[in-house]
C-alpha cells in the first residue's frame, strides 16, 4: 500500500513542518530566550525526519491507514464539533443553561437515543444537576444569559 495513505506519514510531515515553523519563530526571540526553543524545534525537525524514514521503511507493514483512522474518529469528532458550537453559544451570551441544553439534545441523539421526550428530560436533568453542583454547592458562578442573571440576582 502507498506510503501516503498511512497516518504516520502525515504525522511526520506535520512534525517536520511544525519544527521548521517553530525554528523560524524562535529566531525572532531575544538572545537569552531563543536558545531553548531553538533546540526544541531542531529536535522536532529530527523527529519528523526519523518518523518519515521509519514510515517509508515500514510502509508494507501493518501501519494505520488514514481511512481506518477516519472510520474510527468521525463519530467522536462530530461530538467534539458540537462542543465547539457550545463554546460559541457561550461566547454569544446565550448563557450556560440554554446553550448546554441546546447542545446536549443533538449529542444524545447522535449517541443513539431516538425518543425525543427522553432526550429532552435527560438533557435538562444533566444540565440542571451540573448547574446546581457548581453554582449552588460549590459557589462557582457560571456564565448566564443576561436575562436569567437579572432574575437570579
Amino acid at each position: 500500500m502507498s506510503v501516503i495513505t498511512k497516518t504516520d506519514f502525515w504525522l511526520s510531515l506535520l512534525v517536520l513542518s511544525g519544527g521548521i515553523w517553530a525554528f523560524f519563530q524562535s529566531r525572532l526571540f531575544d538572545d537569552a530566550s531563543r536558545s531553548y526553543p531553538l533546540f526544541l524545534s531542531a529536535l522536532f525537525i529530527l523527529l519528523g525526519l526519523a518518523l518519515l524514514f521509519k514510515t517509508i521503511k515500514d510502509s508494507d507493514n501493518q501501519l494505520q491507514s488514514i481511512t481506518y483512522l477516519y472510520s474510527r474518529v468521525s463519530g467522536p469528532l462530530l461530538v467534539a464539533l458540537l462542543l465547539v458550537v457550545w463554546v460559541l453559544l457561550l461566547m454569544m451570551n446565550i448563557g450556560y443553561l440554554l446553550s448546554s441544553i441546546i447542545i446536549l439534545l443533538p449529542v444524545l441523539w447522535l449517541l443513539g437515543y431516538r425518543n425525543i421526550t427522553f432526550i429532552l428530560i435527560m438533557a435538562a436533568g444533566v444540565v440542571a444537576v451540573i448547574f446546581i453542583l457548581f453554582w449552588i454547592l460549590f459557589d462557582i458562578p457560571l456564565p448566564l444569559n443576561p436575562f436569567l442573571e437579572n432574575v437570579l440576582h
Binding site: 537569552a32 530566550s33 526544541l40 463519530g75 448546554s100 457548581f134 460549590f138 462557582i140 456564565p143
Partner: protein, 515 residues
C-alpha cells in the same frame, strides 16, 4: 514518628476522614463503570477542589486513587468487562471462577489482594518519600536538570516498542511548556499576541481536557463502533453470603501477594512505568510459579481457568503501584504516572508545589497524604465488600450514552471554573481533541504530561547550570563536583539506550529471518 503523628492528627479530623471514606466509595463506583477510571474521576473532580480545603480535597483524591483499581476488578470478575485497564488480566481467571459458581471467592480474592498490595505500597511511600526528599533538598541546578532528564528518559524508555513517538510526546510537552513569557527576560514566546497565554497554557484546564474530554470522546467512539455489541448483564451472578477468605486460601495466596506487591512497588516508583507493566510482570511471574508448583499433582485448575493466583497477582500488583507512584512526586516533584500528575493540579490550586519543599513548607499536608494511603487501604476492604454486594451490580448498567455528555459537560464546566474564563474552556476542548488524536495515532499521554510538569524546571535549571559553569555542558557529568548528577545522567542514558539496543536487535533478527 512525630511526623507520622502529625499526618494522623490532620487526617483524624472527622470531616477529613469522612472525605477519605467518601473518596474510597467514589473510587469503587467510578472503577466499577467500564470505560471510566481514576484519571477521568480526577479530571472531573479537580475543579471542585477549589471550594474545598486542601486537606479535604487531597483526602478525597487519595481515597479515589486507592480504590479505583479495586472497583475496576468488580465488573472484570463478574461480567468479564474490565472496569479499568489495570483489571484486564483479573477478568481471565476471575470470570472463569465466577462461571464455576464461585463469585464470592473470586471477588474476595480480588479485594483481599488489592488491600494487601495497597497497604504494602502505602508503607513503601511512608518510608521512602521522606528519605528521598531529604536527599533532593541538597540538589542544585545541575542535579535538578539531570533529575528532569532522568524523569523524561524513564518515561520514554518504558515505551520500548514506541520510543520515537515517546520522544515526540515528551518534545510536545516541553514545547507547550515554553509558551508564555520567557523566564529569563520576560519575552513573549509563541503567544500569538494573546495575553491569556502570557503565563503559559493554563495547566489545570489542559489536564482536564487531556484526560476528561479525550476519555469522553473515546467512550463516544466505543458507542459508535460497538453499538451492536450487547452484553447480557441481566444475567449477573448472585453474590450471597460472606466475601471473606478462609485462612487456608490466605495462606496459599500469601507468597503470590508478597511477590506481586514487591513487583508493583518497584514498578510504581519508576516514573511512567504504570499499572499495566506491573500486572503483566506479576501475572507472568505468578503463572510460572503456579505451573512449577502444581505441575506434578495434576489436581489443580489449569492456569487461566479460574486459578486464585491468577486473580491475586494482578490485583496485588496494580494496587501496589498506587501509593508507590507517589514516591517520586512527593519526594522529587516528578509524577510517577498520569494520576499522580493530576495530583499536581489539585496541589497547585491550593498554592502548593509537590517536591522536597512540600515536607518543609506544608509538612502536615505531605504527611497527611502518606498516612491517608494507609488508612484508605484499610478502609477499602469493608467498603469494597459493601459495594461489591449491594451497589456494583446497578453501576455496570449505567448507559455510556449518558456518561459521554455528562463527563464532557462536567470537565468543560470545571475548566471554566478555573479562573472563570471561556478561554480555559477552549484550552480544555483543544487539549481534549488533541489528546484523543494522540491516542489514536499512538502518541502516549504520559511523556507529554511529565514534560509539561518538568518543562520550566528543565529550562530554568539548564540555563542556570550553564551560567554557573560558564557554558560548560560537561558540568552534568562532573564526577568530582556533581557526582549525583553524573549518576542520574548515566541512569538516564541506560533508560534510553537499553530499549534502543533491544529495538535494533529485534530489527536485525527480523531482517535475518526475512531474508
Amino acid at each position: 514518628m512525630e511526623t507520622i503523628l502529625l499526618g494522623f492528627s490532620t487526617l483524624i479530623e472527622p470531616s477529613v476522614l469522612t472525605f477519605l471514606i467518601l473518596g474510597v466509595f467514589c473510587g469503587l463506583i467510578v472503577g466499577s463503570i467500564p470505560g471510566l477510571n481514576e484519571n477521568i474521576a480526577f479530571a472531573v473532580f479537580i475543579p471542585f477542589s477549589f471550594s474545598l480545603s486542601p486537606t479535604h480535597a487531597l483526602a478525597l483524591m487519595v481515597g479515589v486513587y486507592c480504590s479505583a483499581a479495586v472497583g475496576g476488578a468488580m465488573p472484570a470478575v463478574m461480567i468479564k468487562v474490565p472496569g479499568t485497564a489495570s483489571a484486564v488480566l483479573t477478568s481471565i481467571d476471575g470470570n472463569a471462577l465466577v462461571r464455576k459458581g464461585k463469585p464470592n471467592t473470586a471477588l474476595g480474592i480480588a479485594i483481599f489482594s488489592s488491600v494487601f498490595g495497597g497497604l504494602s505500597s502505602a508503607i513503601v511511600l511512608m518510608f521512602f518519600a521522606p528519605v528521598l526528599a531529604a536527599v533532593a533538598l541538597k540538589f542544585g541546578f545541575v542535579e535538578n536538570f539531570s533529575l528532569c532528564i532522568l524523569g523524561l528518559a524513564a518515561v520514554v524508555g518504558m515505551l520500548e516498542k514506541n520510543i520515537l513517538k515517546g520522544i515526540l510526546s515528551a518534545a510536545i510537552g516541553l514545547f507547550i511548556a515554553t509558551i508564555g513569557l520567557s523566564l529569563e527576560t520576560g519575552f513573549p514566546r509563541f503567544t500569538f499576541g494573546s495575553s491569556n497565554l502570557y503565563e503559559g497554557v493554563p495547566f489545570v484546564p489542559m489536564l482536564i481536557g487531556m484526560f476528561g474530554i479525550s476519555a469522553a470522546l473515546e467512550l463516544a467512539e466505543e458507542i459508535f463502533t460497538e453499538r451492536k455489541l450487547n452484553l447480557h448483564i441481566s444475567e449477573l451472578p448472585q453474590i450471597k453470603g460472606s466475601l471473606l477468605l478462609p485462612f487456608s486460601m490466605i495462606k496459599r495466596l500469601l507468597p503470590t501477594w508478597m511477590t506481586s506487591a514487591a513487583i508493583g512497588n518497584v514498578v510504581g516508583v519508576l516514573p511512567g512505568a504504570g499499572m499495566l507493566m506491573a500486572i503483566y510482570i506479576a501475572y507472568n511471574q505468578a503463572a510460572s510459579r503456579y505451573k512449577r508448583k502444581f505441575k506434578e499433582t495434576g489436581k489443580h485448575t489449569n492456569w487461566g481457568e479460574g486459578t486464585p493466583e491468577g486473580i491475586a497477582a494482578p490485583e496485588a500488583s496494580n494496587n501496589a503501584v498506587v501509593a508507590s507512584s507517589m514516591v517520586p512526586l512527593l519526594s522529587l516533584g516528578i509524577p510517577g504516572n498520569s494520576v499522580s500528575a493530576l495530583f499536581i493540579g489539585a496541589l497547585m490550586i491550593h498554592g502548593m508545589v509537590p517536591g522536597p519543599l512540600l515536607f518543609i513548607n506544608f509538612p502536615h499536608i505531605a504527611w497527611m497524604i502518606m498516612v491517608s494511603f494507609v488508612v484508605a487501604n484499610i478502609v477499602m476492604g469493608p467498603v469494597a465488600i459493601f459495594v461489591a454486594k449491594y451497589v456494583s451490580g446497578m453501576v455496570y448498567r449505567l448507559p455510556k450514552q449518558v456518561m459521554v455528555p455528562t463527563i464532557a459537560l462536567l470537565c468543560l464546566t470545571g475548566a471554566y471554573a478555573d479562573g472563570n474564563s471561556l478561554f480555559n474552556i477552549g484550552v480544555a476542548l483543544t487539549s481534549g481533541v488533541l489528546g484523543y488524536f494522540f491516542v489514536k495515532i499512538g502518541i502516549p499521554h504520559a511523556p507529554i504530561i511529565l514534560a509539561l510538569v518538568l518543562g520550566q524546571k528543565l529550562e530554568d535549571s539548564l540555563s542556570n547550570s550553564l551560567a554557573i559553569s560558564h557554558g560548560n555542558w560537561l558540568v552534568f557529568f562532573d564526577p568530582l563536583n556533581h557526582p549525583i548528577s553524573l549518576g542520574l545522567m548515566l541512569l538516564s542514558f541506560f533508560f534510553i539506550i537499553l530499549p534502543l539496543f533491544k529495538y535494533v536487535k529485534a530489527m536485525r533478527t527480523k531482517g535475518l529471518e526475512t531474508g
